[in-house]
C-alpha cells in the first residue's frame, strides 16, 4: 500500500522538484520524471525555471546505453550566500557560507553581549560585510541570515524571551535590526537548537530522532524528532539544565531553585567543586586543562558530572525514545570521562526497549556545529518548497 502511495503521480511545483535535487546528486530529466511520475514536458518546464533562477545548473552527461547521452542537472549551492552568526558572551562567530553550509569565510568578532542588541548587531553587520567581500561575493547575493543566541528565543518572532545572561536583549527585534542593516530575511534561535540542527544535518541526516546535549557553563539540549527541530510552545524545549537530580539536593542553583542539574554538573559547578578540594580551577577552561593533563581528581569529577547528566538524559530517553544522543561542548571533547559517566547512568536506568538501539556519541565537530546550524536554518528557510515557489512565480493554473 505504501508503494502505491509513494508512486502516485502528484502535481510537482518548482519548489518540490528542487527538493529532489538538494542532495547535490546530478539527475537526468528521465530520473526526475520517474521519481515524480510527472510528464517529461512538466519536468522540463520546472527545470527551466530553476536553471534561470540559478539554483540548478547543468552537471554533465549521464552514462548512456546508446545514442546521445542525456544531460544531468544538479543543485548549485554557490548560487547565493548565507550569513551564519553564533553570538557568545564575549565574541561572535561570524561566517559566510554557500547554500549547502560550506564555509567560505569566517571570523571571531570580540564583543560584549551586555552592550545590547544595537551595538552588538551593528558590529556583526560590519564584520559580515567585510567577510562577504573577503569571500569575493557581494551583499546582494545574500539570501538569508541565521543567528544563534545564548538564551531562549521565540522562534516565530526571533525575539529573545527573558534571557538570563543578556537582559538588555529581552524582546529585542533582532531580525528587524539585522534586516535593516543587511537586507535579507533573518532567522534567530537559541544556540543549542542550532548546534542540534548543525550536528544533525551534517553528521546524522538519516537519524530521525536525536538529542544534542551541550555541556558547558550551561547545560542545554536541542531535540530533533521526526527529522526536525522541536522547539516547544515558547521555544523552551530542551531546557534540561534545571531538572532536579537526586545528588544535587542541597545545592542552590542560579535559577533560584535547589537541586538543578546545572548546579552540580555544569562546567562552573565542576570547577567550583574541584576548587573546594584545593585544586586551582577558576573556570571550565582550567578543568579541561587538568583533565587533558590526566589529573585523576579532575577526571573523576568530570565522570561524576557525566553520571548526574546521565540521570537526566535517561529521562529524555524514556520520554522521547531517540536513536541517538550526541554530547557536545568543550568538556565532552576534552576526554571520554564525561560520556562514559553519561552512558553509565543511561544504560542503568532506562528500559531495555529504549536503549537496545540507542547510540551515545561525542559531537564530531563541536566548535563548528552551532555556526553550521545557523547556516542550515537560514538556507532551509529560503530553499523550502514555499520559498522557491514564491521566488519563481508559477503559471496561475498550476502547470
Amino acid at each position: 500500500m505504501e508503494e502505491l502511495l509513494k508512486f502516485a503521480p502528484r502535481p510537482t511545483g518548482a519548489g518540490e522538484m528542487f527538493q529532489l535535487l538538494r542532495d547535490g546528486q546530478p539527475r537526468t530529466r528521465a530520473d526526475l520524471a520517474a521519481i515524480t511520475g510527472q510528464a517529461r514536458s512538466t519536468i522540463a518546464a520546472r527545470l527551466d525555471l530553476l536553471v534561470s533562477a540559478g539554483l540548478i545548473g547543468p552537471a554533465g552527461e549521464a552514462n548512456s546505453t546508446g545514442g546521445r547521452p542525456p544531460a544531468t542537472f544538479a543543485f548549485r549551492p554557490n548560487a547565493k550566500i548565507v550569513l551564519a552568526v553564533e553570538v557568545g558572551v564575549a565574541y561572535a562567530h561570524v561566517a559566510v557560507t554557500d547554500l549547502a553550509a560550506t564555509i567560505l569565510a569566517e571570523t571571531e568578532e570580540p564583543l560584549a553581549i551586555t552592550d545590547g542588541p544595537q551595538i552588538v548587531l551593528s558590529l556583526i553587520a560590519e564584520s559580515a560585510k567585510k567577510l562577504i567581500a573577503l569571500a569575493g561575493r557581494s551583499l546582494d547575493e545574500l539570501a538569508s541570515v541565521g543567528v544563534g543566541l545564548p538564551g531562549p528565543v521565540d522562534y516565530l518572532t526571533g525575539r529573545p524571551i527573558s534571557p538570563p545572561i543578556m537582559a538588555a536583549w529581552d524582546d529585542a527585534d533582532v531580525p528587524g535590526i539585522l534586516q535593516r542593516l543587511l537586507g535579507p530575511p533573518v532567522l534567530v534561535d537559541k544556540d543549542v537548537n542550532l548546534m542540534a540542527l548543525g550536528e544533525h544535518r551534517r553528521a546524522w541526516p538519516d537519524t530521525a530522532d536525536m538529542i544534542f546535549v551541550n555541556v558547558a557553563n550551561n547545560i542545554g539540549s536541542g531535540i530533533i524528532s521526526d527529522g526536525e527541530l522541536r522547539r516547544g510552545a515558547q521555544g523552551a524545549a530542551g531546557d534540561i539544565g534545571h531538572i532536579p537530580v537526586p545528588n544535587a539536593a542541597g545545592l542552590l542553583c542560579r535559577c533560584g531553585n535547589v537541586g538543578c542539574l546545572e548546579a552540580i554538573a555544569s562546567g562552573n559547578a565542576i570547577a567550583a567543586s574541584l576548587q573546594a578540594r584545593g585544586l586551582d580551577t577558576a573556570d571550565i577552561g582550567d578543568v579541561v586543562a587538568l583533565v587533558r593533563s590526566g589529573d585523576v581528581a579532575a577526571s573523576q569529577a568530570v565522570r561524576q558530572a557525566g553520571r548526574e547528566i546521565g540521570t537526566v538524559v535517561a529521562s529524555c530517553v524514556s520520554i522521547l525514545n531517540p536513536a541517538l544522543i550526541v554530547i557536545g561542548g568543550v568538556v565532552a571533547t576534552a576526554s571520554e570521562h564525561l560520556i562514559a559517566g553519561i552512558r553509565e547512568s543511561v544504560y542503568q536506568s532506562s528500559l531495555p526497549r529504549a536503549t537496545e538501539h540507542l547510540r551515545i556519541a561525542t559531537s564530531r565537530n563541536t566548535s563548528q556545529v552551532g555556526i553550521l546550524g545557523a547556516s542550515v536554518m537560514a538556507a532551509e528557510h529560503v530553499l523550502s518548497p514555499r520559498a522557491i515557489d514564491a521566488l519563481i512565480p508559477m503559471p496561475a493554473d498550476g502547470r
Copy 2:
C-alpha cells in the same frame, strides 16, 4: 515576508485541495481560488474529481451581494466508514465511525488478550462486521482500520514489540491478519498514543504542543509536538512509567528496576499502599470508589500519587515545553486530587518560562479518546494528500 510566501501560488492537487475542505466548512470555488492562488479552471477540475469520488459534495449556496449566489462545496464525512478498535486485557472497544470520527455504532466485546492475536482479531473482525451492518453500511465502504494495543508497537509495521502483558502478540503481523479478515489498510499503535491523538483532534486541535498522561494500572503518555504524534525511534516515546522518582527509591517495579514512577503511583500501587494500611482496596476500582465516597485516606493517597507523577511530568515540561498537559484515566476523572497533586509538583519544580503559559487539564472524555484516536489515525491515513492523489489519478502533466 511570511505574507509573501503564504500567498505565492503553488500547484495544488486534489489531495491538497481536499485538506482545505476537511474542516467541514462549505466554501465556494472563489474561496478556494483565493486561498490557493490557483486559476478558477484548476479549482473546478479538482473539485469535479473530488465530487465524483464522493469525498466532497455540494453544500448549498453562499450569500450573494447580487446576481446568482455561488455554489458551495464541503467535505462529506459519510462518504466512507472507518473501523476503530481499542484492545484491552479483557475486552475490546469496537466502533464504526465516519471519516470525521463520529461514532455510528459501537460495542464492547469480551475477550482474553492472552488468547493471542489470531483468536482475538478474528473475534474483533466478526464484531466489526455486525456493527457495520447495524450502522446500515457495508464492508466495501470501509476505508481503513485503526487499532490501539495495550503495549509498545512498531508503528511502521504495526507489530507489537516485546509487549509485557501480551507476550503471545510479540512481533505478530496485526495489520496483515486484520486486513485479510476485513480488506482495507490497517494501522496499529499503542493505546496511549491514540488517546493523545483523540484528545488532541477532538478537544485541542489548535494546541500544537501537548502531552496526554494516562494514569491507570500503567502510567504512560502520548506526545503531540508541532501538531503531530511523536513516536520516537522504536515507538517507545512517552514511556514515563519507569522514570525513577525520589520517593519510590525502595520499591521494586515489575520492570525489574527499583524506584520507578509506576511502582509508587499507578492504580495498583495506590491500592496496595492503602491495603497495607488496612483498607479494603484490592484494585484500582476500589480506590476510585473510596475516593468518590470522600474517604480521606484514599484521597490523600491519590493526591500523593499525583505529586509523584508531577515530578516526572515536570521533567516532561522542561524537556518538551508543551502548552498543555492533559491527564486521563479513571483515577483522574474520579476526583480533583490527582491533578491537584500533579499541578503542585509541576509548578514547584519547573522554570517559570516553561509554566507561565502551561495549562494542566483533565481529559474531557477519557473513556472515548482512545477509540476516537484510533478512528482519527485510520481516517488521516486515507485522507492525506498523498492518499487522495493515489485514489484520484491526476493528469500526468500535473494540471
